[in-house]
């Protein structure tokens, strides 16, 4: 179907891109590079999983980058300055994130405001609070941090599958299960298909909206914790602009920005594509990092144009005025 077509296209782009990279730099095709790619993009994968839910439901969440920043600062302060045990700090910060997301969802639903602008306010708010907490980078020295960063599964070929990469993969699998196998997931797609029809079918639209933004913020919080492991520090300016990378990854992964269609697997592929571009540029050495942005922009355009084209085709075949019947499956066993 259409949904799997776009994921397939993304997969083809990824494989073809990877093959091209490997042709030019044979070293890229090693478990070391691939494992590093997973580690470097672990936080992006987690936050993008949450964004996938939001976008499929027809919304958008601009606050995720700020929530990551807030989480790193809060965690660092809690562990290093306030003497809270790391796991208690994680739990606490995730609860705060959940409340924050729920509040945004509630405002969006109750006041019928565009998610874009509500989460924009959320973005200012979260970033502002993290600035208030601290403007300096706080190194985290808790033993758990070094323990986690030392942990890795050795892969054949010298790759190290780190703890945070594993965390991302586990979270992605859980999110995929949640999205594709549960009532909650079905409702997320339903909301993106038509809010009004979903409400008419008896689904509580308000609580769903709140839960979706809550999920997104909690995943951003988890991404923030992972980010703090990655950098071993908390900094209020971390993950500035990550919301854009996240949205780009989700769209490149075949999720419709207008909602109703998409998958966690696609998003994962989208994250990998961005990581691959980054890796290629690192290997090349002569290209500068800004090419990442340009390439991402070009891919974004290609995928959006593709979606637009597919939708126009679908519209042409289904929205013909009454009288002309669209070509459609005729029920086989129907009486005539």
């Amino acid at each position: 179907m259409k949904a799997s077509t776009s994921v397939a296209i993304t997969a083809v782009v990824l494989v073809a891109g990877f093959a091209l990279c490997a042709l030019q730099f044979p070293n890229i095709a090693s478990t070391r590079v691939v494992a590093n790619l997973l580690t470097d993009n672990a936080f992006l994968g987690i936050v993008a999983a949450g964004m996938t839910f939001v976008i499929i439901s027809g919304g958008i969440d601009l606050s995720v980058g700020s929530v990551i920043g807030f989480t790193t600062v809060f965690t660092a302060l809690a562990v290093e300055r306030w003497g809270i045990p790391p796991f208690a700090a994680f739990a606490l910060v995730l609860v705060l994130c959940a409340l924050f997301g729920a509040a945004m969802g509630a405002v969006i639903h109750v006041f019928e405001l565009p998610p874009f602008i509500v989460t924009l306010a959320g973005m200012f708010l979260a970033r502002g609070v993290s600035f208030l907490l601290s403007t300096e980078s706080i190194p985290i020295t808790a033993p758990i941090y070094s323990a986690v960063s030392d942990f890795a599964i050795k892969l054949p070929g010298g790759g190290r599958l780190t703890a945070i990469a594993i965390a991302m993969l586990v979270i992605l699998v859980l999110c995929a299960l949640l999205l594709h196998l549960t009532r909650f997931g079905a409702n997320v797609y339903a909301l993106g298909g038509s809010r009004a029809a979903t409400a008419l079918m008896g689904i509580p639209v308000g609580p769903m909206t709140i839960r979706i933004y809550m999920l997104s913020s909690v995943l951003a919080g988890l991404a923030g914790i992972v980010f703090s492991f990655y950098t071993a520090a908390g900094y209020s300016l971390s993950a500035v602009g990550v919301e854009l990378d996240t949205i780009a990854a989700v769209v490149i992964g075949g999720t419709l920005l207008t909602g109703g269609q998409g998958s966690v697997i696609g998003t994962f592929l989208g994250v990998l594509i961005q990581g691959m571009i980054q890796t290629y540029i690192n290997f090349d050495g002569t290209l500068s990092s800004w090419w990442t942005k340009i390439a991402t922009g070009v891919l974004l355009f290609v995928f959006i144009a593709l979606q637009q084209g597919l939708m126009a085709l679908a519209r042409r075949s289904s929205l013909k005025p009454a009288g002309t019947r669209p070509v459609a499956a005729k029920p086989a066993g129907a009486p005539t």
């Binding site: 009532r183 079905a186 298909g193 029809a197 009454a322 002309t324 459609a328 029920p331 005539t336």
Partner: protein, 490 residues
């Protein structure tokens, strides 16, 4: 103005009951009251003897009243099975049992004679399948009353047949079905009783077997006694009037069959027919709001380009659409701005109307058409329907048009404004305008039309001129070809 005025409606168990009437007759208001979308201010609803008071769509469903709308209110992006069981999927440990759900969905649809892949997205199926899916979901939620709002509007013959089989099966099970449709053939084929509404009032409720087709159409369109008392438009020979624009073999595939039409200065052409017969479609082609794919339009023998509203407007055509709120007014802008909009669009950006000119134009038409309140600076969304309609007329009159296309200009406006608009149409005609007017009020059409084109099933079927323009002859033309079939059937 009341949307629904003291209407009685009774639906028997296992009965298929047609609810008929033109747009604005009160059908959808009645449905919305019954399904709890609108609040009623008088009267009661009883279901199996027990009084119910639904306050929301969910209340109505819980009480056993389910509605399936013309635009299927399901989710095109989800699978058929998900659509059937959304919110009540079978689960084990929180995981939806996809296999079990599909099995049940398949069994459920087989019961309706549909053997399809329930895992495919709903959007990949025809509207008929989507309708049956919606009905299956509604009935599965224990419906005792099923309301079908224009379910057949976009179905072909074969699909209608499938739907009718489903309806008969459900009626046999004792479910009462309200069937809203503008296809009279279908009403005669499937229904037991018919109730007709007009202007929010009950016209009558009859056994369909005892109601000849002509009488039914008269109930829907005509007004008793109107035929003999109306004033007639002056009839002059056609040739005396200058041709404004003519259409030859003009049509659009799947939209309206090719037609010939000549519009002359100082002449009103009425378009008559039932809802969905192709009246609005004709109007939109004539103005350029839709692009034709066959035939040609000419002015003085020269072919003209008419592929966008801009083309129509620059040729001196004007169009007041039926959907006043969504296609007519710009609600936030003032009456003045709404009035000058078309003129300004035609003049282009570089020749703006000065504020003085705008005020003059607005005031001139506010006075001429008696728009109330006479305040050009009031947002037009705050005016009554009749005054909005007059402002839209003013919008086009300000462009000094050659041709005006009016789609249901008197719909949803009160009696006083109604008469005024009819008077205006005749005045404009006398000033030499060509007019093409759509109305469901046949006596209204007869009052101002020099010629009447009768439509049926998206085609022009007859053109009545001069003395032949009578309510009775229009009614006969609308009912014409199908009447013998009906007699044969009964």
């Amino acid at each position: 103005m009341k949307a629904l005025d003291g209407v009685d409606f009774t639906l028997g168990e296992g009965e298929i009951h047609a609810l008929l009437g033109e747009n604005g007759a009160g059908k959808s208001t009645l449905i919305k009251v019954v399904t709890g979308v609108f609040a009623r201010d008088a009267g009661t609803i009883r279901l199996a003897g027990r009084e119910i008071a639904p306050r929301s769509a969910k209340d109505a469903v819980d009480a056993g009243i389910a509605t399936v709308y013309q635009e299927v209110n399901l989710l095109p992006n989800l699978s058929v099975a998900q659509n059937l069981y959304l919110g009540r999927q079978p689960t084990r440990f929180g995981v939806v049992r996809e296999g079990e759900m599909k099995r049940r969905a398949r069994a459920l649809l087989l019961d309706y004679g549909l053997d399809i892949d329930v895992g495919a997205p709903l959007s990949s199926y025809s509207v008929a399948v989507q309708h049956i899916t919606a009905i299956a979901r509604a009935v599965d939620l224990s419906a005792r009353v099923l309301i079908l709002d224009e379910p057949t509007a976009s179905l072909d013959r074969h699909e209608v047949e499938i739907l009718f089989n489903v309806m008969r099966k459900l009626a046999d099970r004792g479910i009462g079905i309200v069937f809203v449709s503008h296809f009279l053939d279908q009403v005669y084929e499937i229904c037991d009783r018919v109730t007709v509404l007009r202007n929010g009032r009950l016209i009558g409720s009859r056994e369909i077997a005892e109601l000849p087709r002509l009488d039914l159409i008269r109930m829907m369109l005509g007004r008793e006694l109107a035929e003999t008392t109306h004033e007639r438009a002056a009839s002059q020979p056609d040739t005396a009037r200058e041709v404004c624009v003519s259409f030859k073999n003009y049509g659009k595939q799947g939209y309206i069959a090719p037609f010939d039409l000549e519009l002359r200065r100082g002449e009103v052409v009425g378009l008559a027919g039932l809802l969905g017969s192709g009246r609005t479609e004709t109007a939109r082609l004539v103005f350029g709001a839709e692009r034709a794919d066959s035939g040609e339009a000419t002015i003085d023998g020269k072919a003209i380009k008419l592929s966008s509203p801009r083309d129509g407007a620059s040729l001196g055509f004007g169009y007041c659409p039926e959907e006043r709120k969504t296609e007519g007014i710009v609600a936030d802008l003032t009456v003045r701005e709404n009035i000058v909009l078309a003129l300004q669009a035609r003049r282009g950006l570089h020749r703006p109307l000065s504020r003085r000119e705008q005020d003059e134009i607005a005031m001139r038409y506010i006075r001429m058409l008696d728009i109330r309140p006479p305040d050009p600076e009031r947002p037009i969304g705050l005016l009554s329907g009749g005054n909005q309609q007059k402002a839209l007329l003013a919008r086009w009159l300000a462009t000094s048009p050659k041709l005006l296309v009016l789609d249901e200009p008197t719909r949803g406006i009160d009696v006083g404004a109604h008469a005024e608009i009819i008077r205006l149409v005749r005045e404009l005609c006398e000033q030499g305008l060509a007019l093409l007017v759509i109305s469901s009020e046949l006596d209204e059409i007869v009052t101002y039309s020099n010629r009447v084109v009768v439509l049926r099933d998206r085609a022009h079927v007859e053109e009545l001129k001069g003395e032949a323009v009578e309510v009775s002859s229009i009614l006969a033309a609308i009912a014409a070809d199908t009447a013998p079939a009906q007699e044969a059937a009964s």
